[in-house]
């Protein structure tokens, strides 16, 4: 076990493309760190540099006090789980898991002991003598995990290990990964593009965009206090709604009406000048069906009427979509988020459409006018010039 320190790490490929730009990241001993971002943001490259599979162009990488820039992967004492598992097809499950131990020159008893222990943890006992080709996706994934844990390495590196599983299995394995990590207490770096995995698994989450680290923090912090538009839009599902607004003292002029700020929202607007144009961010869960909000709470928020375009009922909750006017928000970061989500080419997907997450008891109907309530303490504000949060400091 060891801490991993990335000190101004950069990666420039031969064709001049800079995949990772001056990345600083301290991963504490035993910490579960998630690298998350849209595809092509450099998160996998960063992980592969930690593994030693990719040369470091610039900067210093330390694993447990030792600078490892020039150390071969095999001497870094790390284990990696690959996106496609990379199991050795000519070896049985047992041989696959024993491979790193054999290379390390462990005795036969030690190998047997550790492999059976790993097989027990991962529930692979009855599959030990089968070949990977005869295993299901979930089982292969577990073998890949097993091969990583038998060695008791300084750190686990996982490159989107769950992305090849179907949705149900993914949720199952997610819990499994969290359980194993907390049981072994091994420093873990986990790469994913799935913000749900990032939020549920990590002690801390590092959000990356275009090779640059955007924000590092506990999941709740990223959710509650995103430092810029990109993090705000990336974390949370459904994504945060953005609309133009103008701050005027403690009031913000939004397309829905003039809203008086309350609680935390005041601090989040502290960095703005009076009269400044801003991009306001509102999470879908900050809305509620006004009829379901009791009187005194209702007075603390802002109620407005709007026509509901579409209602999606998920059983436990409802998503209500409505339009706001004059709400074309222009931002490079938002465009990138939209492209990554695949909605960039869908007409109207980003233009003034707002989604509200309502309780399932809500009676809003498609095409009807409804009264919605907005929690005015939960607004976020961003500078339209550079996308940064307008929170003080």
């Amino acid at each position: 076990m060891a801490e991993i320190v990335l000190d101004r790490i950069s990666k420039r490929f031969e064709d001049g493309f800079e995949a990772v730009k001056g990345m600083d990241l301290d991963i504490a001993d035993g910490e579960f760190m998630i690298l998350v971002g849209p595809s092509g943001c450099g998160k996998s490259t960063a992980l592969r540099m930690i593994a030693g599979l990719e040369d470091i162009t610039d900067g210093e990488l330390r694993i447990g006090d030792r600078v490892v820039n020039q150390v071969a992967p095999r001497d870094r004492d790390i284990a990696m789980v690959f996106q496609n598992y990379a199991l050795y097809p000519h070896m049985t499950v047992r041989e696959n898991m024993a491979f790193p131990l054999k290379l390390a020159g462990a005795s036969k008893e030690e190998i047997d002991g550790k492999v059976s222990e790993a097989a027990r943890i991962l529930d692979l006992g009855q599959h030990l003598d089968r070949k990977p080709a005869n295993l299901s996706g979930g089982q292969r994934q577990r073998v890949a995990m097993g091969r990583a844990i038998v060695r008791d390495p300084k750190a686990f590196l996982m490159d989107e290990p769950l992305s090849n599983l179907d949705a149900k299995l993914r949720v199952q394995m997610r819990t499994e990964v969290a359980r194993i990590q907390s049981r072994l207490g091994t420093t873990t770096v986990y790469v994913t593009h799935d913000q749900t995995e990032a939020m549920t698994l990590g002690d801390r989450v590092a959000v990356m965009r275009a090779g640059v680290l955007q924000q590092v923090g506990a999941p709740a912090e990223l959710y509650g206090n995103p430092v810029n538009l990109f993090v705000a839009g990336f974390i949370g599902s459904p994504a945060m709604n953005f609309m133009p607004g103008r701050l005027d003292g403690e009031t913000v002029h939004l397309p829905m009406g003039d809203v008086r700020l309350a609680g935390d929202a005041r601090e989040r607007a502290a960095g703005a000048q009076s009269g400044q144009h801003v991009i306001a961010g509102i999470r879908p869960e900050s809305f509620e069906d006004a009829s379901l909000v009791s009187g005194d709470v209702r007075d603390r928020g802002f109620s407005f009427r709007t026509k509901i375009d579409l209602v999606e009922s998920l059983g436990a909750e409802k998503y209500a979509y409505f339009q706001v006017e004059e709400s074309a928000v222009e931002s490079e970061e938002l465009r990138e988020l939209a492209e990554d989500a695949g909605t960039a080419e869908v007409p109207g997907a980003q233009e003034g459409q707002v989604v509200a997450r309502l309780e399932s008891a809500s009676r809003v109907e498609r095409g009807e006018e409804a009264e919605l309530w907005l929690d005015t303490s939960k607004l976020h504000f961003f500078d339209p010039e550079n996308g940064r949060s307008l929170a003080a400091g």
Binding site: N84, P89, P100, L103, N134, L157
Partner: protein, 280 residues
């Protein structure tokens, strides 16, 4: 179903025709090898008098004085040694070409291809002179070296194609698991490339086994002459009889190892050995 039956009949007939076309000369040789010298030219497919004399004659005189046994041993030894060296060298070369980016990579590949296409006949003259002056004439290495020249490019090409099919992740997994590059190659890549290695080995072996041009030019005695060349020196029972039966018998004998060789290894040349490595 009618259409299926017709298609089946069509394919059966076509395959039979192709088989007959390919097999008739072989069967004809077998038939010749079983005929007596007098009936060799009688033109009948099935010998009137069956005899194994032609085969017995080949082995008369044994290793030292016989016309056939020593060349047979030479053929086997030279082909096996050439194959072993060619495959070992080609495995490393192909691995480097498939995996590494180094200057001159395309030149090497192009050069290999050019050499493989080079007409062998234009090299035998110079080789004959060179080998005589440096003492390689009529030796094993004297044949093995030109065989390697022409079989290495072939082996490299086959192996590069196979190595490229193996997911790179496997090798990186092995490296992270603690393997040196050589261990990763030996324990992960090589076992997975086995079908390719066997394919290349068979092609190289057959090339060396079949060669006549180098064998006839660069050897002068049975101490290193291979069977294809030795056949040309067979003599009949008398000055006026052609050794047709003996040549046919020898041809049958040298065909058998090839058939066995291919039969053994074709089972290993199966696709899908890498199934299960990565999610497809």
């Amino acid at each position: 179903m009618r259409r299926g039956t017709r298609e089946y009949a069509y394919w059966s007939i076509t395959i039979l025709l192709v088989l007959a076309f390919a097999m008739l000369p072989v069967l004809w040789i077998v038939s010749l090898s079983l005929k007596t010298p007098e009936s060799v030219t009688d033109g009948s497919f099935i010998p009137h008098h069956w005899t194994l004399d032609n085969y017995n004659a080949l082995f008369q005189g044994g290793f030292t004085n016989g016309p056939f046994l020593h060349p047979l041993v030479n053929s086997i030894a030279i082909a096996l040694i050439s194959t072993a060296i060619a495959i070992t060298l080609a495995a490393f070369a192909a691995y480097a070409i498939a995996r590494l980016d180094f200057p001159g990579k395309t030149v090497i590949l192009a050069g290999a291809l050019a050499i493989a296409m080079f007409p062998a006949i234009s090299t035998v003259g110079p080789l004959f002179d060179m080998w005589r002056s440096i003492g390689l004439y009529n030796t094993y290495p004297g044949l093995i070296i030109p065989y390697l020249t022409f079989s290495l490019p072939l082996a490299i090409y086959v192996l590069v194609a196979f190595y490229r099919e193996i997911p790179w992740d496997l090798e990186q997994a092995a490296q992270v698991d603690g393997a040196t590059p050589l261990q990763a190659f030996r324990k992960v890549i090589l076992p997975l490339a086995a079908p390719g290695t066997f394919t290349a080995a068979i092609l190289v072996f057959i090339f060396c086994w079949n060669d006549f041009l180098f064998a006839i030019t660069l050897t002068s005695s049975n101490s290193s002459r291979t069977v294809p060349a030795a056949l040309a020196f067979f003599t009949g029972p008398s000055q006026f009889t052609a050794p047709t039966g003996n040549i046919a018998a020898a041809a049958v004998i040298i065909t058998v190892p090839i058939i066995i060789f291919v039969m053994i290894f074709q089972r290993r040349i199966v696709a899908g050995l890498t199934a299960g490595a990565v999610k497809g």
